[in-house]
Structures are given as C-alpha cells and as structure tokens.
C-alpha cells in the first residue's frame, strides 16, 4: 500500500479545497473552517481513504460540508441574497502578488462568474466549479456528487444553455 506523508496531501489539495469552499460559500471564515474540518476528517480517516480516490474523497466531503453550511445559513437568513453575498468578502483582500490592473480584471471576472453561477441550480453550480476550476472529468464529478456520468453531462449542457443567455454580452465583448 502506498503511504504518503499527510503534509504532502495537505499541501497538494489545500488550495483546491479552500477555493471550492470560497466560491460556494463566498465567505472567507466559512471557507477556512470547512478547509480545516475537511483535512482533520481526512487525518481521522487516513486508513480508510485510498490513495487513488483521495481527491474525490476530499472534494466530496468539502461539497457536503459546504451544502450543510449553506442550508443552515439559508434557513437562518430571510432571503438567499442575505445568505450569499453577490460580491464575496474574500475579494476584499487584494492579492499581494498581482499588480493592480490584474487584480481589477480578476475581481471583475470573479464577480461576473459569481453572478452567472447564481442563475444555476446548486448542483449545477457545483458541477461547473468542479469541472472548470478543479479540472475534474465528468466521471470524477459523478463520483463526488453521487451522480451518473450522463446526469453530469445533462447538467452541464443545461447549465451552458442558461449561461449562454446570461453571459452573451460578456463573452462577445470580451
């Protein structure tokens, strides 16, 4: 059995987990909490998680934890808008490595994507994030979200149709 140091796994996947949680939750503190919980759970289940499936396991646990938090937030908030800010608070911290122009472009693009993702159903949003941000294949997404490969394809197809209307102006001018 292949043994990999826990810190190597942490360094390899911490950004993926944090990024996914940040885009779903749009809140830095929540994303940090989810990242910590996910990796501590990985540590606790290190013997059960196989080497080949650890990325899918991490993303699945991250997704489930994010959905739990979202459900709690939505039930506590009176509107969806209150639960999820359009502009994520995480964007308040500028990237110290980027120049101001790049930072501005990133900020605009991120807001455009967040707005576009808002029109998608929750599951389709997760599928898009996993496919375009995490580079997951359709089959991997199916494993993470407990869906068949064809269900993922259908969701992406429908999502694209919705996004095409929403992003028409952005994509033709850009």
């Amino acid at each position: 059995m292949r043994k990999i140091p826990f810190t190597s796994v942490l360094d390899e996947y911490k950004d993926s987990v944090f990024n996914y949680a940040a885009y779903i939750l749009r809140n830095r503190e929540d994303a940090e909490d989810v990242t910590q919980e996910v990796f501590i759970r990985l540590w606790e289940n290190r013997d059960a998680v196989k080497y080949r499936t650890r990325k899918a396991w991490l993303m699945k646990v991250t997704h489930n934890r994010c959905m739990d938090l979202l459900r709690k937030k939505k039930s506590a908030a009176s509107t969806d808008r209150e639960a999820l800010p359009v502009i994520p608070d995480i964007l308040a911290d500028p990237d110290p490595t980027a120049n101001p122009e790049t930072e501005l472009t990133h900020r605009e693009t991120t807001i455009t994507i967040q707005k576009a993702l808002d029109i998608l159903p929750d599951q389709t949003k997760s599928i898009f994030l996993l496919h375009y941000f995490q580079g997951c294949k359709y089959r991997e997404i199916g494993n993470i979200l407990d869906l068949s490969e064809s269900a993922v394809k259908i969701a992406i197809h429908r999502g694209k149709k919705l996004l095409r209307k929403e992003l028409a102006a952005e994509l033709t001018t850009g």
Binding site: D15, W43, K160, L167, L171
Partner: protein, 175 residues
Amino acid sequence: MKRSCEHIERLLYDKGIKGLSPFERMRLKIHAARCAECRGHVVFEKGLSELFAGARVYDCPPEVREFISRRTAGERRSVQTLGRLFALRRYSYAAVAAAALVIIFLLHPLAAVRQEAGPEYTPEQIARARKQAEWSLALTGSLLNKTNREAVEDVLLNKVPESIKTSLEKSLQLF
C-alpha cells in the same frame, strides 16, 4: 440542422472543448469555419473556459495550514514513534526468541541434572577405587592377554564378561 452539426454538438456535449482529441479539434475547426451556428457554440465554449481561467484563484491562508498541521502534529508524532517501534519488531522478535531459548535451557530438568555435582568421595575411597581399577585392568588384560589400554577398549566394546565390565565401569568413573 445538418448531420455534421449534430455530430459537433454531440462531441461538445460528450467531452466539452477541453476533452477533444487533436483530430476532433481539427474537425471542429474546419466545420466551424463554414457553419455560423456551430461557430457560435465554439466561441461560447472557449469564452466560458477563458472566463473561468481568468477568475481569481484563492490560496489557502497559511494560518489554516498551520492550524491543521498543529492539530495533527501530536498524533503524527505518536504514530511515527509507534512506527519506529514496529520497525524494530523483527529485532525484538529475535531477541525475545533468544531469551526464551536461554530460559528454557536453564529451566529444563535435564539442565538441572547436568549442573548437579556428582557423588563426593573421600580420598581413601578414591585411592581404593584406583587400586581396584588397576587390579581389574591387570586381571582383564591377563585374561584377555592384552595391555591395560586394549582391555579398556574391549570393555567399552562389550567384549568382556559382565562382572569384569561392571567392576571396571565403577572404577573408571573415578578417573
């Protein structure tokens, strides 16, 4: 809709633009150059990929990594220590086996018999026995017409009468 358009749509549906092989990409490019509708699909697909690629990627804050590392560090150390101990198990098994053998050897009833001292004799008894042995050997030698040494060998090879053999065996123990 043309048949080739259906095929292109199917390809994009099944694989997305990133999942196409070089041959499929070439086919898509050629078709899109002639078909405005499919060109629209391709432009949208590329735009979508570029849009997501241009979004900011959030890095996990170092304090989060530090926290996770700290939370698991204590356990990791103990696991490593256990691991080191288990790595030595081969040697420990060998040491335990050797110790067990020594203990069995020492505690075995035969070992006790081996360690027991033989019967103690007084110097007079030893002198008498020596004389008796010499007489016995001389008698055996004369009976067999052999030297004392040859007589001893014959005794050991059971070539002498039982009475002489018993007498000799008792005497030889004293030497």
